[in-house]
């Protein structure tokens, strides 16, 4: 520090002679100490990457530097050569990518492309720490594992650093991790205002960075045909539909509950689409945004893919489809084949292929496309033909007859059985169509010569044992057991039937997806049960398709750790996550809160799975009913408030930082309790209305408005993503304003 030293000389050289000698000496010593203190920053740490290190390995080194600076106030230098005199020394990479690690080549463990290690070793006389992996991205994960070792915990919203100072100690570390679940997939975009379609590009990138730290390795950008992520033309028909959230708008100015979350904006919107008024502007914004996400995935070592429903088209393509009974979505923005469309219609196949090719042309830099298998009930009458079409190639009929398939569906309600059978038949017809589609020559060939892979999602569990027969070779499956976690767990035995040695399969974990909606739900025990089954049944991994991700931090953390540490249970994982960041005592209270949320989840699953699902009538439907307030609502509210109290206790305890985690959950659970309070008041108002008791009706409507206002304010106070803001905006539009309108009308 020579320059600093010279600076320290000048002040006392210029002290006036009038300063008494002793005072002068004291002053000099003080100044000297002051500058000495300033000169000595934190410990010196040298991080060395190979001269030919990949971008990911260099990024890994820079991430170590950032984390060590924050953890230890370290003076970190990243270089390509081991300095002669180093402080603490960290070598990044492997013997093949970093020459400094060559002396360890003989003892370097055999690592898979996802395996990674952090290990204290001796190189000659020097103690060094190695952070490396079997591939560049595995090396990046090793860097993040190093941060984890020192107490950093990665949440979806950001990093939690240790609450207490940590000692920089690089010896005695020996961690080697290999995954038991190799595929860890995150789905993004979708088409919900309470989901990631609301997130701007900057927020998406921030989330992807966190996912990389959590060692997720695949990202699916999930589009639907009404959105502006694709522009294409087919036989003179040009796509013209391209809207966000199926064209819905959510005003947030004026009397809006929880409007502080919007910082003065008049509408809730995805910032990437602000002022994008025309179709062309929206397409440009959407493709820019999606390409940006794909590029970020690449930079972070994650494999990007698309998720599309190939049999859904923008409405203007109706003329291309046959028959007059095409299926339409609720907003009439998209069309799908109806009964009049033959599954072997060449023109339909051409349209599907054209749309797929357009996606690949627009997003050539993806690795895979996940195709959603629809269940067009209009195709039910072609199911038997389709089954026969599948049979000769696969001897499918020997495994299960068509009659077998359709008779195993049962339900207390004949109408439900009928609907299920129709859907199943639609799926069979779609499977036959998909099989032909996916065997099209060069279907996944991209202009640069690489070929994208295909996988199919949305296959009913009844087909699990037949996956290798109904899907072409090389096509992977993304399977789902149920829309919600607890029922999915009850069906876990179905997972054993999947021929995983022939079809790479991953399980869609039903956590915080759009249907779960606005109410927080989770179940640690169910999650662990499914993860255990994934391993036992030899599945490739899991997929998360979350909308409101607020309470997903722990689930994501658990999945991240459990993918590499089979023995870990959820309570251990929670302690591992919170002990260094909020304190061990906080982990215990948080576990208690989570147990209560698990009880709520069970109540919701049992009684009204769709209670939190966002739709226009989600609140007012309860006003139309004169049924008594369901008892379980009160119990669920009690549990939410109890969980809220636990999280407030955690919050008071978590004094040195990371309160963002605890306060968020406290207020999120408060939101949920108040929301249920609103529904109860709405139902009581409805009962009073049916009895002509206007006074009670008005009083209850007022309570409903007040409870919803409190709910929205509670969430607004901690809103940290556009999923949260989306929930607030949606509930204003679907609940708060209709209730106020009703109140003011009476």
């Amino acid at each position: 520090m020579p320059s600093l030293f010279f600076k320290t000389v000048f002040p006392w050289q210029t002290l006036p002679a009038s300063v008494p000698t002793l005072s002068r000496q004291l002053l000099l010593v003080t100044i000297g100490l002051l500058f000495a203190t300033q000169a000595v920053a934190g410990p010196r740490v040298d991080v060395v990457v190979g001269p030919k290190a990949t971008a990911l390995e260099r990024f890994a080194a820079s991430e170590v530097a950032v984390q060590f600076k924050k953890l230890f106030d370290a003076d970190v230098k990243v270089s390509e050569q081991v300095p002669a005199e180093a402080g603490s020394l960290i070598l990044i990479g492997s013997p093949t990518t970093n020459p400094a690690l060559q002396p360890l080549a003989a003892t370097w463990p055999k690592l898979s492309d996802q395996g990674h290690l952090i290990r204290s070793v001796k190189l000659g006389d020097r103690k060094v720490l190695v952070a490396g992996g079997g591939s560049p991205v595995a090396t990046l994960w090793a860097a993040y594992e190093l941060g984890h070792h020192f107490g950093i915990r990665y949440a979806l919203y950001g990093d939690m650093y240790p609450g207490e100072p940590v000692e920089l100690k690089l010896d005695g570390i020996d961690i080697l991790l290999e995954p038991t679940l190799r595929s860890r997939t995150w789905w993004t975009i979708g088409n919900s205002p309470i989901g990631p379609e609301s997130w701007g590009q900057a927020d998406q990138e921030q989330l992807l960075k966190q996912l990389a730290k959590l060692k997720f390795n695949r990202v699916v950008l999930w589009f639907d045909a009404s959105q502006p992520y694709l522009d294409f033309e087919f036989k003179g028909v040009k796509k013209q539909t391209g809207v966000v959230w199926r064209g819905e708008r959510f005003p947030v100015d004026g009397d809006t509950g929880g409007r502080t979350a919007f910082h003065g904006a008049k509408f809730f919107e995805n910032p990437d689409f602000t002022n994008k008024k025309t179709y062309g502007e929206r397409v440009a914004a959407a493709t820019l945004r999606a390409r940006g996400i794909i590029e970020t995935c690449r930079k972070l070592g994650m494999s990007p893919g698309l998720g599309i429903e190939p049999l859904e088209f923008p409405r203007e393509f109706a003329s291309v489809l046959s028959g007059g009974d095409k299926e339409k979505d609720l907003q009439l923005l998209t069309v799908s084949p109806g009964t009049g469309q033959k599954i072997d219609d060449a023109r339909l196949m051409e349209l599907v292929q054209a749309q797929l090719q357009a996606y690949l042309k627009t997003y050539p830099n993806v690795d895979f496309i996940s195709l959603t298998l629809p269940a067009p009930v209009g195709w039910a009458n072609q199911a038997e033909t389709a089954w026969k079409e599948l049979d000769p190639q696969t001897r499918l009929g020997k495994s299960k007859t068509f009659e077998n398939l359709t008779t195993i569906l049962d339900s207390p309600s004949p109408a439900v059985v009928d609907a299920k059978v129709k859907m199943l038949k639609g799926k069979i017809a779609s499977l036959a169509f998909f099989k032909r589609l996916l065997t099209t020559k060069d279907l996944g060939l991209v202009a640069d010569g690489h070929t994208v892979k295909f996988e199919v999602n949305g296959i009913f569990p009844v087909f699990f044992p037949l996956l290798d027969k109904v899907l072409p070779p090389g096509v992977a499956a993304r399977n789902s057991l149920d829309l919600n976690l607890l029922p999915a767990t009850e069906k876990r035995s179905l997972m054993k039937g999947v021929p995983t040695e022939r079809v790479a399969s991953s399980l869609s974990l039903p956590l915080a997806h759009e249907v779960v909606g606005v109410l927080p739900q989770m179940s640690g025990s169910a999650l662990k049960s499914l993860v255990d089954e994934l391993r036992e049944s030899g599945w490739n991994g899991f997929e998360l398709n979350c909308s409101t991700i607020g309470e997903m931090d722990f689930n994501a953390y658990y999945l991240s750790r459990a993918s590499f540490q089979s023995e870990l249970n959820t309570q251990q994982a929670l302690t591992m996550m919170l002990a260094p960041t909020l304190g061990e005592a906080s982990a215990g209270r948080t576990w208690k809160a989570f147990e209560e949320i698990e009880q709520v989840t069970a109540l919701i699953d049992k009684n009204d799975f769709f209670i939190g699902a966002p739709h226009k009538n989600m609140v007012m439907q309860y006003y139309q009913s004169s049924e008594p307030v369901p008892e379980w609502w009160g119990k669920a509210q009690e549990l939410y408030f109890s969980a809220m109290n636990e999280m407030y206790r955690v919050n008071t305890r978590a004094r040195e930082g990371n309160r963002e985690f605890s306060l968020y959950l406290a207020r999120r659970f408060e939101f949920a309790g108040e929301y249920l309070g609103c529904l109860m008041a709405v139902r009581r108002a409805g009962i009073a209305k049916s009895k002509g008791d206007t006074e009670t009706q008005m009083a209850e409507l007022e309570k409903a408005v007040e409870s919803l206002n409190s709910a929205l304010n509670a969430l607004a106070a901690v809103a940290r993503s556009n999923s949260d803001r989306g929930v607030i905006a949606v509930l204003n539009e679907y609940g708060y304003r209709p209730l106020k309108k009703e109140l003011e009308a009476e």
Partner: protein, 516 residues
Amino acid sequence: MPFRLATASAFRSRSDQRLSHRDTDMRGSRTQQHGFSEVLLRTCLLAGLFFSTQLNAEDWRQFRGPNASGVAPGKYPLPVEFSTTDKVKWSVKLGDSVACPIIAGGRVFVTAMTAPEKFGVLCFEAGTGKPLWTREFDTGKLPRITPPNSQASSTPATDGNRVYVYFSTLGMLALDVADGKTAWQKPVPQPAYLMDWGAASSPIVYHNMVFFNQDDDLNPVLYAFDAATGVERWKTERPEMLGGYAIPVICEANGQTDLVVAGTGMLKGYDPETGKERWNCNTLLRTIMTSPVVRDGVIYLANQSYGDEKRTLKYALLEWLDTDQNGKMERTELPKEFWKRFDLSDKDHNGVIEGDELDTAFQSSQNQVGGGSNIQAIKGGGTGNVTATNVLWLNNYKLKIPASNLVSPLVVGDELFVVKKGGLSSSFDIKTGKSNWELARIKNIGDYYASPVAGDGKIYVVGENGFVVVLEQGPKLNVLAKNDMGESCVATPAIADGRIFIRTREHLYCISEEAK
């Protein structure tokens, strides 16, 4: 458009305001420590400056203006309907703060967090919004607070010469009103709150003294600093108090002037010259966050403290700080600032405080008051315990509680007005305590932190959601308007010279009929 010309009658009308208002405004020094000639000279100089620059300037020199009353003394017309664009004379974007603006000599003073660890004091010309000066201070590491509190929470006060500003890590600062230069800075121990509420106490100025009451959970103290020099004139410890935020008020009654401070269980009157306690009235509750209001020698209070009369601090500790919920407090369950107190309270040295130890660990054994709610009128003046003699009326509530735990009452005309969460308002006759209306909605559901203010026959009620509801002043509830200020608002507005200064979370708006 030039605003109203100053007239002698206008100034007289302000001068004729109640004595208590005039005194806390400190328009001229009356301290006996200075010679008469000096007083005269200063008064003339001040008056000269006053009339030469802002002939019509009407001031609002502290939290809730004259003696924390919330009532604007002027008669200027105030707007009923306004917004962030309508009737806005000027506006400015500032950093985060929940402190109120204050006005003196045609200048507005506000505070804000201008950067994560920078505290700003800003001065604007009241009529135009022209920035006059800004001071920024490095705060160092900031203490823990609980939202919606802000680090910039304390409302400054001024005597027209200096602006007195408190900040938790900086202590008390006196800045020259002319240029913002630091006249003096006095360290004040950082407050400690068991629940991490954070600092939010505000100073007042009276008779050349700056009074600052900091009731925290560790070392509650009432300070008096010399306004000119910052020298501590006296300080009075208040060990029987818990954390609270009532601002001191001046009450003249029975021929004596008292500095009146509300706190845990007790309203106390102190001699402002010495800090000696003169009287106490033991009708208050555990946690006092609202401020009293004085009118004609009577002190009005509206309080609400969570729980019933048996809910002493112990129960709050066991509910929120006893992390393992074992009914005992371990040292690590408390913030570090309280560990020393913990050790003293752990009389049997078994490492936990429990049972009787817990009762008195943080709440005085002499003041084991619990929660509840009441609205009351207490006659000022007196000596000793005046509980039996000075309570004019007292309404206790168990159900259907009209008082807020956060929003101070407003006494205007013959009414005492209160508002609470949900936009539920109540009004009482100040002579009898009988209600004019109770728990009627003002059509703005939401949270309320700011206290209502009044002027020109209207009451302004600011909701946290940023809506300002305007009511007609009177014994019947009449909502005149609901105005949208666009963002969260926790600060109480200020009124001066026919202008309403509304400090939202990030902005300051000057609302006036002057605006085009």
